[in-house]
Amino acid sequence: MGKPLISARNIKKYFHVGEGQLKAVDGISFDIYEGETLGLVGESGCGKSTAGRTIMRLYEPTEGELIFNGKNIYELPRKEMEEVRKNFQMIFQDPYACLNPRMTVEDIIGEPLDIHKTYKTKEERRERIIELLELVGLGEEHAMRFPHEFSGGQRQRIGIARALALNPKFIICDEPISALDVSIQAQVVNLLKELQNQLGLTYLFIAHDLSMVRYISDRVGVMYLGHIMELGESEELYQNPIHPYTRALLSAIPIPNPEIQRGRHRIMLEGDVPSPINPKEGCRFVDRCAYATDKCRQITPKLEEIKEKRFVACHRAKEFI
């Protein structure tokens, strides 16, 4: 593995709501290495999308640092930030909502080029747009059409072309496939993988489809209520989950094979995810955990490396290896 492309250090994002503070992301730290894909999984409301947006600085962080090229981008003034942002792009979840219905595909993909003025002549702009369209498996004939003329999978391709327009190094994919049909999901995931090999991209892949995340990611982080519970190499983590939450989460994935599925033992979690508003001190998972002790209620466990390349936030992690 190379050197880290970005390093997140203790990033926090709180929102002020009527009842107090909603701690959507509550101190997460990790590195993402060049050319790798880091998957981020968790249930809805666990803060994975907020984490992605805070990393992009679409939300101003409450606390924390994000080191990119040796600089903390959260401290950069607006002008410099704009420069840095060329390297950071995002692919959104809903291919129906993230494209302006009144713009042609050419203008949608050309918008980042216009903003950063990366071309000298009109022809140059058009050439680049066609190049991008071809890169994502569309063609010149699609350039003058409007978003409503495309299917979900094709729209997601347009979103990807737009994200690639400025030759970014790092792309955050926020649930890029969850709005698509199974057969189309595979098309988009294959495309993302091809582009990664071709252009040397680094991905942060946010999703709740756990088997897809395992397939696309080199490493996976599991989030629960704003905390990272476990982080490790994906193969290892799926085969041998350590944190009680990861175990329950993985055992809940239905496997498309009736023989295996019928013989499986599921770890049922009782109850629901608690509210992230004014959370108590202690492990976030404590109320639903079968192994909770008094210590878990009082002290929030830190994310620690308990074996090679495996980080777990649990006081009793050593017992579970």
């Binding site: 249930e43 809805s44 299917s151 999978g153 049909d181 199974v182 057969s183 189309i184 999901q185 595979a186 098309q187 995931v189 294959n190 993988k193 709740h208 756990l210 088997s211 897809m212 395992r214 397939y215 696309i216 193969e235 799926y238 329950a248 989460l249 055992s251 809940a252 994935i253 239905p254 496997i255 498309p256 094979n257 009736p258 023989e259 599925q261 019928r262 599921r266 049922m268 979690l269 109850g271 629901d272 995810v273």
Partner: protein
């Protein structure tokens, strides 16, 4: 096995500004007592239209029946008047919808919503109704049911709302439950809870279930039989094990291959199905999967494939499986 529901050559279309959309194009299947039948397919393949047509919840117009029969306990539901349907809906056949956030009435207490159906179908005093509502919430494992019956939907989480939806559907102990993507909007841990609950209730109440979903994992978990739909038609149907182990239709094969399994290598690409399903404004003359099929023959373009029986329970509609078809190996597209 006795069949509780039989669908025979059902055809449903929608009239639109641009013409007629043939959403369901002649499907046949049946559901036995205490059986779970899963309908699988991509969005737009007609699975929800089929489900809604059984309950006759389709807006008519624009929807209209072009032909066929829906036999429930031997009676054709399509001949029933609205009054007669109201006696069946919620009483004999119930439905659980996809989105628990929007299918409950936000201005009504949970308890009242649960017993609303029961009050329609049976005479109840207010006391009895409340007792019944509490009992139902207990049945679907909602904690503190006495307190919860008086609350409103916004006070419930997504998983809890889906439990309420199930309680609501179960209250009259229906013979058939239609679950239209019951867990799609939920997280996996909650999904596991809900599926578990549905199985338990099925055993307890002896219901049949029609499960509509696109999640093949859920299907493997829940169903006894599978019906695979594509572009308004059934392309393959059979026992769950047969479909997963020995799929015969190219679409079923490709659909199963397009989901990553937990033990596959990350280096091999996913087997995506190129292209998109056909437009049902102008349904294709031949096999609907022709454009996307890598094993298409010349005949597939012009002639609708006949159904081939592989065993008593397993059949598929593909020219390759036709008994007269030459046995050839290879996966290339052959168009002479």
């Amino acid at each position: 096995m006795e069949n509780i529901l039989e669908i025979k050559d059902l055809k449903i279309s929608f009239k639109t500004f641009f013409g007629e959309v043939e959403a369901v194009r002649g499907i046949n299947f049946d559901v036995g007592k205490k059986e779970t039948v899963a309908i699988v397919g991509e969005s737009g393949c007609g699975k929800s239209v089929t489900a809604n047509s059984i309950m006759q919840l389709l807006p008519m117009p624009p929807a209209f029946f072009k032909g066929g029969e829906i036999l429930f306990n031997g009676e054709n539901l399509l001949n029933k008047t609205e009054k007669e349907m109201q006696k069946i809906r919620g009483n004999k056949i119930s439905m659980v919808f996809q989105d628990p956030m929007t299918s409950l009435n936000p201005t009504m207490r949970i308890g009242d919503q649960i017993v609303e159906g029961l009050k329609k179908h049976r005479k109840l005093t207010a006391k009895e109704a409340e007792k019944k509502a509490i009992e139902m919430l207990e049945l679907v494992s909602v904690p503190q049911p006495e307190k919860r019956v008086k609350q409103y939907p916004h006070e419930f989480s997504g998983g809890m709302r889906q439990r309420v939806m199930i309680a609501l559907a179960m209250v009259c102990t229906p013979e058939l439950l239609i679950a239209d993507e019951p867990t799609t909007a939920l997280d996996v841990t909650v999904q596991a809870q809900i599926l578990d609950l549905m199985k338990k209730l099925q055993d307890k109440l002896d219901m049949s279930i029609i499960l509509i979903t696109h999640d093949l994992g859920v299907v493997a978990d829940m169903s006894d039989r599978i019906v695979v739909m594509y572009a308004g038609q059934i392309v393959e149907s059979g026992l769950t094990d047969d479909i997963f182990k020995n799929p015969h239709h190219p679409y079923t094969k490709r659909l199963l291959a397009s989901v990553p399994s937990l033990d596959m290598s990350k280096d091999e690409p996913l087997h995506a199905i190129d292209g998109t399903p056909p437009d049902l404004y102008i349904p294709p003359k031949g096999c609907a999967f022709y454009d996307r099929c890598d094993r298409a023959l010349k005949i597939c373009k012009d002639y609708m494939p006949e159904s081939t029986q592989h065993s008593d329970t397993h059949c598929s509609s593909c020219w390759l499986n036709h008994p007269m078809a030459q046995k050839v190996n290879g996966t290339e597209r052959r168009e002479a």
